[in-house]
């Protein structure tokens, strides 16, 4: 049995999902030969420490750790002080400066800890630096959950399609935009109505600009370009147009002519824009679904679709990354 001490940094929607998923999958992981022990959970109010593993039932009901924290340690301090070999970083994303996640990841990687994250900001701002830091310290940086949530994309290209050359990836990488466009098409309602409906359902944030202006999708395009296409690009290299200018009339007109209008991110073209997608195309998915078409030389086009966000769904992608770190290191040899 391989014993792995895990620290979780960030206790928002995804953080809750991670605690839940690790707790639910404990027995399955043990069967695989992995004993993942969540020795600490940290947020902006403090840290819950438990050498034998944090009791999920005691903290899952808490929105923050304010009332249950056993230590006042926060952020980088907690990462350096706590004895763990893997850090799950799920703090809120900031695509401009990457903080606080960037500092957390630097602290973890430079002290020889693997990092698994769903936080796009640090990767958009500083991918090559973080990648080098991981290599220099002989640890891994995994970020499947940053693009397309639970939809397998990065690991699919890096492992399953490893013998292929990938000429491009196009897809729907933001469930909020896809939901809004879907509702506008279905009901013929204007953008503002569809947006408020999405906000009421918790699909869109109170400040939706990050999603609807295409910023989130562009961040994902940058991550895919840097990680899968070995490009060295920044957010400002992406040509971004959001969905705020799309009208129900345009959607209806396009539909009559056999097209849906979707916000499509394109790598390596580095564009994010509303695009006509033929109705019936496998990437023309509806609702909050994400999708991606991967163009390969040997396998033709591979299309994937799945939920792009959500607490437990994102945690599932994180869990996959955690397991893959130990599988990559030949889990057989660990016994």
């Amino acid at each position: 049995m391989r014993d792995v001490k895990v620290s979780l940094v960030g206790y928002g929607i995804v953080g809750h999902g991670v605690v839940d998923a690790l707790s639910r999958k404990k027995a399955m992981l043990r069967d695989m030969g992995l004993n993942l022990r969540l020795v600490s959970v940290t947020d902006h109010t403090g840290t819950v420490l438990a050498e034998d593993g944090v009791d999920a039932s005691k903290i899952l009901g808490e929105r923050t750790l304010e009332n249950v924290a056993t230590s006042g340690m926060k952020g980088k301090e907690a990462i350096s002080a706590i004895d763990s070999e893997l850090v799950i970083e799920v703090t809120p994303t900031n695509i401009v400066h990457g903080q606080p996640g960037l500092g957390h990841m630097e602290a973890a990687l430079s002290s020889g800890k693997h990092v698994v994250t769903s936080n796009k900001g640090p990767l958009v701002v500083s991918y090559s630096h973080l990648k080098k830091l991981a290599e220099d310290n002989g640890v891994m940086l995994k970020f499947e959950a940053t693009v397309g949530g639970t939809m397998p994309l990065i690991s699919l290209v890096e492992r399953t399609l490893v013998g292929n050359c990938i000429s491009g990836i196009q897809g729907i990488f933001n469930g909020t935009c896809n939901y809004i466009l879907t509702r506008m098409t279905e009901e013929g309602i204007p953008y503002t109505h569809a947006l408020s409906e999405a906000q009421d359902l918790g699909i869109a944030e109170a400040d939706p600009s990050y999603d609807v202006e295409g910023v989130d999708t562009a961040g994902k395009v940058v991550i895919l370009a840097n990680s899968l296409f070995n490009m060295d690009v920044k957010y400002s290299d992406v040509d971004v147009t959001g969905i705020t200018g799309v009208t129900p009339e345009a959607l209806a007109l396009a539909q009559r002519k056999g097209y849906a209008i979707k916000l499509i991110g394109d790598v390596p073209a580095l564009t994010v824009r509303p695009t006509l997608v033929p109705l019936g195309s496998p990437i023309a998915v509806s609702g909050t679904l994400n999708s991606a078409a991967i163009y390969t030389d040997l396998s033709g086009t591979i299309t994937v679709t799945g939920l792009g966000a959500g607490s437990i769904e994102t945690a599932s992608a994180i869990l996959t990354d955690v397991i893959s770190i130990y599988r990559t290191k030949k889990i057989d040899a660990i016994f």
Partner: protein
Amino acid sequence: MSLSWRTRPGRPTTVAVTSGITSRARRMNAHTSSYADSPYFDWHSRAYVAASGASDRVNLGSIQTLPITTAAGLCIAIPASLFHSYFTDQVDRFVVEMDRNKIDTVKEELKKSGISVVRAGEDRLIESVSVVLVGHVLDSDLGDTIDRIDTTGYAEVMDLSLSMTGINEPSSAYLKIRATGKAEIQKALSILREVGKEKQLLVIEPIEMEAI
């Protein structure tokens, strides 16, 4: 630029390119064992069998000697081999495209081989693309927007649908643009992008159909 020619005047029907190859390939039904393990061979033969409706494997005969290793290679090989040998007894009429400056040479060569060229040098709008414009499409002079494409000489707006809402509300237009080739489609789209920037219109282009 396009060119079409006819081989046997008086033949009643136009024979499709694929059926020409298939019947030829069938007739040449030689040994396939040395090629049977090759995925390329398998792929090609399946393509031909599918076209003919036959279930057996067929040999490619002299096509084998051509560098057919990719789909692109196949695209070159089919018209080349047709041109070379099948032309006179299998294919009645087909159309090819080439640079304007090569047409005369090709016409001469065809004439020497006893082939009559029935039409040459006619530009044809063979590619098309759909675009949706959103914004003040009419107020920003839709006629001018269309003219910018139509005056290129290589592309034209062939279909136009409008959806108008109240005054001061953004309207939408669906345009189908036809052009003489793929490169010209791209040029027309980039003109439209520029016009879009200038007139503050949202230009919604189709996804590039790499393989969808």
